[in-house]
């Protein structure tokens, strides 16, 4: 049994037993879904289907339906792609990096954060696929033997690195998530009363029996997967940033991009986790497991990564002047004072100022305030990508080509649609899957449970 300092806040509140944990997590799955779930699911489904409609229209008509022009060839599509990939960084960071650092508080949130990651990466992957125009030849991004002659994909291109990075990240995260889910599905299977549910969870649980040797392997596989996924988390957004950093466009051609993008991704990912978790803990009655301390820990991560992002913005600005390259200097001057000044200053306010408020203990422990800031951060991080992408290319070297980008209703429809689809997936997950790693949480009950920490023999046991 692992001991921790007595003054450390317990991670599991109240007087829970192993059985209570099973009950608390399984009850929402076994009970009838509340009316609110149907309402939210209905709304998400309508928005999602609208997005699917827009995508079908785009595929039928061509990429011309987006608000792009000759100067601005990349706008909402790649902005949304990077935004979603960024959001998809929290889950694996929580379950992999925090596992290596032995952060026990991750156990309450890793399952749903990882689900969020996977769904966010689904949404991200959609954008590069649909921007090809011909979705059905999407497999051409793979180096497959073909009848076109010696035709291979270009391994020098960051866009191809992206294909490998995103697909590896998605599939490894999925496997990591599922391996953790297997024992929890077994718990639901062994409790299920209805034959259909029993059958379904029996298939999903792969016949898990919880033998000592299985657990021995389970622990090692989790550790090694965490070790593999940790550099993966950092590599994915580094490679996404190479899409810009390896080009020669002023405003993109910066060596600071990889660390700055990774910090930004973690920043926005944790914000999205907060948004979802604050609602979920309430709706599913999990306040004993995900409480103020967990929210505070996550807010500290938001504060730290937000500060890294802020430092990066200011460094970038300084270097654009200090480099002496007039084009570089103009790109940044134009960002702050040009026609897109409002996007730049929204980004600055949301991403640089708002996380600094987390220095106040009262604010970072306030659930309402956290919820508000988490939304603000996600808006800010969308603007960050928009500012980097659109303001850097809308005024290029030839003033006659200068242009503005106005999104078409298809641009907006596809983007809003992905948010709908994301919630469709997340709501289905919350309905049918154990949202808490319930068997993992049991392992910290005696070390970090409130009733155990308060018992007189906690510190002279064993």
């Amino acid at each position: 049994m692992q001991k921790e300092a007595a003054i450390r806040e317990p991670l599991i509140l109240g007087h829970k037993t192993y059985h209570d944990i099973t009950e608390d997590v399984c009850r929402p799955i076994e009970d009838k879904a509340p009316k609110m779930w149907y309402i939210l699911f209905g709304i998400a489904l309508i928005i999602g289907l609208y997005g699917v409609g827009c995508i079908l229209y785009l595929l039928g008509t061509g990429v011309g339906v987006w608000g792009l022009n000759k100067t601005i060839g990349w706008a909402w599509d790649i902005t949304n792609f990077v935004w979603w990939v960024g959001i998809g960084h929290a889950g694996t960071l929580i379950s992999a990096v925090l596992l290596l650092f032995r952060q026990k508080w991750r156990m309450a949130i890793n399952r749903s954060a990882e689900a969020m990651t996977i769904f966010a990466v689904f949404m991200a992957g959609l954008f590069p696929l649909i921007h090809m125009g011909r979705l059905w030849v999407g497999y051409w991004v793979l180096p497959l033997p073909n009848q076109f002659g010696s035709l291979w994909v270009n391994f020098n291109s960051p866009l191809l690195w992206d294909v490998f990075a995103i697909s590896t990240y998605l599939s490894v995260s999925l496997v990591f998530w599922y391996i953790g889910l297997i024992p929890d599905f077994a718990t639901i299977r062994d409790r299920a009363k209805k034959p259909l549910a029993k059958k379904m969870y029996s298939i999903l649980s792969f016949g898990w029996s919880g033998r000592a040797k299985n657990w021995n392997r389970f622990e090692l596989v989790s550790l090694v997967l965490a070790g593999l996924a940790t550099p993966l988390v950092f590599s994915v957004h580094s490679i996404v940033s190479f899409d810009f950093a390896t080009s020669v466009i002023p405003g993109w051609h910066t060596t600071i991009f990889p660390p700055y993008f990774v910090a930004g991704a973690v920043f926005s990912g944790f914000a999205m986790v907060q948004t979802l978790m604050l609602v979920m803990r309430k709706a599913m009655g999990l306040e004993a497991y995900i409480h103020t301390k967990h929210v505070e820990y996550m807010n500290v991560v938001i504060m730290v990564t937000g500060s890294i992002v802020g430092t990066a913005y200011i460094t970038e600005l300084f270097i654009s002047w200090y480099s002496g390259v007039e084009y570089e200097a103009y790109a940044f001057l134009n960002r702050a004072t040009g026609p897109y000044w409002w996007a730049y200053w929204s980004m600055m306010t949301c991403n640089v100022i708002s996380p600094q408020l987390m220095w106040f203990r009262k604010l970072r422990r306030s659930l309402l305030f956290t919820f508000f800031i988490s939304i603000v951060v996600n808006i800010g991080m969308w603007f960050e990508r928009y500012v980097i992408i659109v303001t850097s290319i809308h005024r290029d070297y030839v003033p006659a080509a200068w242009s503005m980008h106005y999104p078409s209703h298809i641009d907006i429809g596809v983007y809003v649609g992905t948010i709908g689809l994301f919630f469709v997936f997340f709501l289905l997950f919350a309905r049918f899957f154990p949202v808490l790693a319930l068997n993992e949480v049991k392992t910290i009950l005696k070390g970090s449970g409130q009733s155990y920490k308060e018992s007189p023999d906690y510190h002279n046991h064993h």
Binding site: M1, Y18, H19, T22, P143, S150, L151, W152, V153, N154, F155, N156, P158, W161, F164, A165, S167, T168, S171, V172, V175, I179, I182, P183, A186, T187, R189, D190, R191, S202, I203, L204, S205, F206, G207, W208, S209, G210, R211, A212, K213, N214, W215, N216, R217, F218, E219, L220, V221, V224, L225, L228, A229, P231, L232, S235, I239, N439, K442, T443
Partner: protein, 178 residues
């Protein structure tokens, strides 16, 4: 050959661990422990060796690294050296920096998936497999120790019962199996 299996159920992981220690020190062989979560420290007591899956992951990773290197060398250097601005790719080594990201990703891909598949096969956990835990409560809050008489020929059933009686078990069940 018929065999008799004793299933001893505990409602706490520490009580089971203490019980297992006592049984093993009296020469009883415990064939299996079923639990809802990993009981730390049970493996050496009941004689379970540490898994070597980590070594497998390393080997899968090396395979991925080799495949990525050979593949990219063939695509980019041998089959069609790409001429970018008059700087063709004559050797793999001269261009290795551009190949680092994909090499890394492919190594991780092979290591992770190779290990995951091996893990599922070794555990015999695959979609549609039947559950084998003796009691449905072992995935909730109960812990079961399995003792097979055929593996304990040096000790009588009565002696095992006597040893078990003061380990503080929750339930005891005996089954004849073929």
């Amino acid at each position: 050959m018929s065999d008799k299996v004793i299933y001893v159920m505990y409602d706490d992981d520490h009580i089971l661990k203490d019980g297992a220690k006592k049984l093993v020190s009296n020469g009883v062989k415990i064939s299996e422990v079923f639990s809802p979560f990993p009981i730390h420290g049970i493996d050496p007591i009941i004689g379970i060796k540490n898994t070597r899956l980590g070594i497998m992951a390393f080997l899968y990773g090396i395979t991925g690294l080799t495949l990525a290197t050979l593949g990219m060398r063939y695509f980019m250097v041998v089959d069609w050296p790409m001429n970018i601005g008059g700087k063709p790719n004559f050797t793999y080594l001269d261009n290795i920096l551009a190949f680092v990201p994909v090499t890394f990703e492919f190594t991780v891909l092979c290591a992770a998936h190779g290990m995951a598949i091996t893990y599922l096969l070794l555990n015999k956990t695959l979609p549609g497999m039947p559950a084998q835990n003796p009691d449905p409560r072992t995935t909730d809050d109960k812990f079961v120790m399995e003792i097979r008489l055929s593996e304990n020929s040096n000790i009588t059933e009565e002696d095992i019962d006597a040893l078990l009686s003061d380990t503080g078990y929750f339930e005891l069940d005996k089954k004849e199996v073929k």
